[in-house]
């Protein structure tokens, strides 16, 4: 089939017009600064599927923020409306949801979904259209490796650094009291293993000998063989690069093997105050360390109000609030403050967030050029059946206690 020059010219013109129209659409989406009407915010959340529990925690935080803001008249006189769509814990669906929010629903802003897995592709979609992407849970390397300028992660530091606070504390101990040997069971997972690996490298550099290191697949439910091997090496310290399920299973297997190290840190599992005691037995929690970004009694910006309102709205106790709700609430706090300063203009929001410091329930946040927060995680320790922040000093409510007592102690 041949095309005449005139026909080709017409085709080229049509494509050009379409491109101009698309660009205009993008620009319109980027600066939807209508002065009247509510501020529409698109959020994809995992309300079903594997991440439905943390997804719902995030939804509680987002909704509470919107409720409290609207009760005070909204932002710049405009009410906030959240458009929340379920992504069924699927990264593809999350990306599709954001595509629709921006190109079809023409929302003013987008807030992030749950987990790195869903945040990475979603942030890329938002970046393509020039939208700011303030997000509560995408703290893994997959998000920051994209080097996007529109990402702002509302936790104190990238997830991979969450064990650093424990490393610094251990290495601050007098040499005689430090562990001499360590074991590193690590889940084969992009969010867990890197935390333990980073800790291992720092400990080895400081002279703490690695006596056992293994990576186990995500389908591992029986930690007994791994613990059997660890126990035979008798390490002073165990650093688990864990997620929740294997984190519980590791502790249970250690209890059953009757092997209690002097120091036990897990990347995830013990940092779920509502879940951990019921999974391993409350009497077995004593002296176990983990890291966290938030705790109910934190004296951070707006936290007492957040905790009060949360309990009032959803019931339960302050201790039962999942950090995921606080992380989502912090997204709203950042958005509220930046909109108050620069209005609903995504380009201006991105530029503004790269400067200055932003107080939230998660602490005062500051980001580098690719959205990594520059703060530090909290070191948490189970003491007397409760989870307390034990470092850093200004925030801690208890001192770190060691060595870990035997199980049930």
């Amino acid at each position: 089939m041949k095309h005449s020059p005139a026909r080709l010219a017409t085709l080229a013109a049509t494509i050009s017009l379409a491109a101009v129209a698309a660009t205009a659409g993008t620009a319109a989406a980027r600066t939807t600064a209508a002065s009247a009407g509510p501020i529409k915010i698109g959020i994809s959340l995992s309300l079903s599927g594997d991440f439905s529990d943390p997804g719902k925690f995030a939804m509680q935080g987002y909704k509470l923020w919107a409720k409290t803001v609207n009760a005070k008249g909204g932002i710049l006189g405009r009410k906030v409306v959240l458009d929340i769509k379920d992504d069924a814990s699927s990264p593809t669906q999350a990306a599709t949801n954001y595509q629709n929010f921006i190109t079809k629903d023409r929302v003013d802003l987008t807030f992030g979904p749950f987990s790195t897995l869903l945040t990475a592709p979603s942030a890329a979609v938002a970046h393509r259209y020039g939208y700011a992407f303030i997000e509560p849970a995408g703290g893994g390397p997959a998000v920051f490796d994209q080097k996007l300028n529109n990402v702002f992660f509302t936790q104190p530091a990238p997830i991979v650094e969450s064990g650093d606070v424990f490393v610094r504390w251990v290495l601050s101990l007098p040499k005689a009291k430090r562990p001499k040997t360590a074991a590193y069971p690590e889940l084969d997972d992009p969010f867990s293993s890197p935390i333990a690996e980073r800790m291992r490298q720092q400990f080895e550099k400081a002279g703490i000998r690695t006596v056992y290191k293994t990576i186990y697949p995500s389908e591992t439910v029986d930690m007994t063989p791994i613990v059997s091997k660890i126990a035979s090496k008798k390490p002073d310290m165990i650093v688990g690069g864990t997620q929740a399920g294997d984190g519980y299973a590791l502790v249970k297997a250690l209890v059953q093997a009757n092997f209690s190290p002097k120091f036990l840190f897990e990347a995830n599992g013990p940092n779920s105050p509502g879940e951990f005691p019921s999974k391993v037995g409350a009497s077995n929690t004593q002296g176990i360390f983990s890291a966290s970004d938030w705790f109910p009694k934190a004296k951070t910006y707006g936290n007492p109000y957040f905790v009060r309102q949360f309990v009032k709205t959803y019931g339960g106790t302050a201790g039962g609030i999942d950090p995921g709700s606080a992380e989502a609430y912090a997204v709203g706090q950042v958005a509220q403050r930046v909109i108050s300063k620069v209005g609903v203009n995504n380009a201006k929001i991105i530029a503004a967030l790269h400067k200055g410091k932003w107080p939230t329930v998660e602490g005062t946040l500051h980001w580098n050029a690719i959205g990594e927060p520059t703060g530090k995680f909290l070191l948490m320790e189970w003491l007397g059946g409760n989870l307390y922040p034990v470092l850093p000093k200004g925030v801690a409510t208890r001192k770190p206690t060691f060595p870990k007592p035997g199980w049930g102690g």
């Binding site: 079903s48 599927g49 084969d188 293994t214 029986d222 791994i226 519980y248 209890v255 999974k279």
Partner: protein
């Protein structure tokens, strides 16, 4: 050497529980040629039922077997009557895969809504008790799980070999047409056998929920293991399933301890493939005659 023997002990104890799970799967296949890929989901459903009885009514997870097994038997009978019985013709086995897979997804969905996706585990007071025997550690819960599984498997074996129902089942397995000609009600046998298979999953689920944390998605890993066990043991062979399950437990445990957990599950599949190359019908399977 001490490590190796400890690993073998761990493998035998957990292999017994997998044998119980796989017994229902292989029984149903033997009688109906139905590959019940919902068996893993049914195990997890039973784990949740046992967990609910323990957490709300303080019923000991092992005693809950007396409640969960009959309840799941009824469920199994209902599933067979509603979903499986209507599958007939030469494609029945293939269709059963789809139907039972849909059932598995349905169970997972319901459990996700009711119990959420957080991990659960039943924690009776004795769950942390471990005995040291001749220098080797034996956890009480795992030993109880193994003993429970062994008792139930023996009872199942007695049922199949020493009762009228068992003879009807074995006759149906060997030659359904001849069994019907001799007065065996094949439909009834199939329905009751499906219920029996599900009730075996129920007992195993109650045990599983004490040993491991689980969530609604835990059935994916379970079913891949169970299918491997029944294939290695020989489809339809109860003894083969027991042998293969214990073998799997030992291989995985030894490889996890001596080499790496990464290779543990894979190593079992290597054994499976190598064995099937030599003996395609599995350990205790019977090679079908071809014309």
């Amino acid at each position: 050497m001490h490590q190796l023997i400890q690993a073998i002990i761990i493998g035998i104890l957990i292999g017994g529980v997998y044998a119980l799970m796989a017994s229902g799967l292989t029984l149903v296949f033997g009688i109906m040629k139905v590959i019940n890929v919902a068996q893993g989901a049914l195990v997890i459903l039973a784990a949740y039922l046992s967990y609910a009885l323990w957490s709300h009514l303080h019923v000991d997870p092992f005693l809950s077997i007396f409640i969960v097994m009959p309840a799941m038997f009824v469920l199994g009978v209902a599933v067979q009557l509603v979903f499986v019985r209507s599958l007939r013709g030469p494609d029945a086995s293939e269709l059963s895969l789809l139907v039972t897979w849909a059932l598995a997804l349905g169970i997972e969905g319901v459990l996700s809504v009711v119990f959420k996706t957080t991990y659960r585990v039943s924690l009776p007071s004795y769950s942390d008790t471990t005995w040291t025997v001749a220098g080797y550690q034996i956890n009480e819960v795992r030993l109880l799980g193994f003993v429970t599984s062994a008792v139930l498997l023996v009872l199942l074996s007695v049922l199949l070999t020493r009762t009228r129902f068992g003879r009807a089942v074995r006759a149906t397995v060997q030659n359904p047409t001849a069994a019907e000609l001799l007065g065996v009600d094949a439909n009834r046998v199939q329905t009751l056998s499906f219920g029996l298979g599900v009730s075996m999953a129920a007992a195993a689920g109650a045990v599983y929920g004490v040993i491991y944390p689980f969530n609604p998605g835990s059935h994916y890993d379970l079913i891949s293991r169970l299918l491997s066990i029944v294939v290695l043991g020989g489809l339809g062979s109860l003894g083969g399933a027991v042998f293969a399950a214990v073998g799997m437990g030992i291989v995985e445990s030894v490889v996890a301890v001596e080499i790496s957990p990464i290779w543990a599950a894979f190593s079992f599949f290597v054994v499976l493939i190598a064995f099937l190359l030599v003996r395609p019908q599995g350990i205790f399977g019977v090679r079908e005659r071809t014309l």
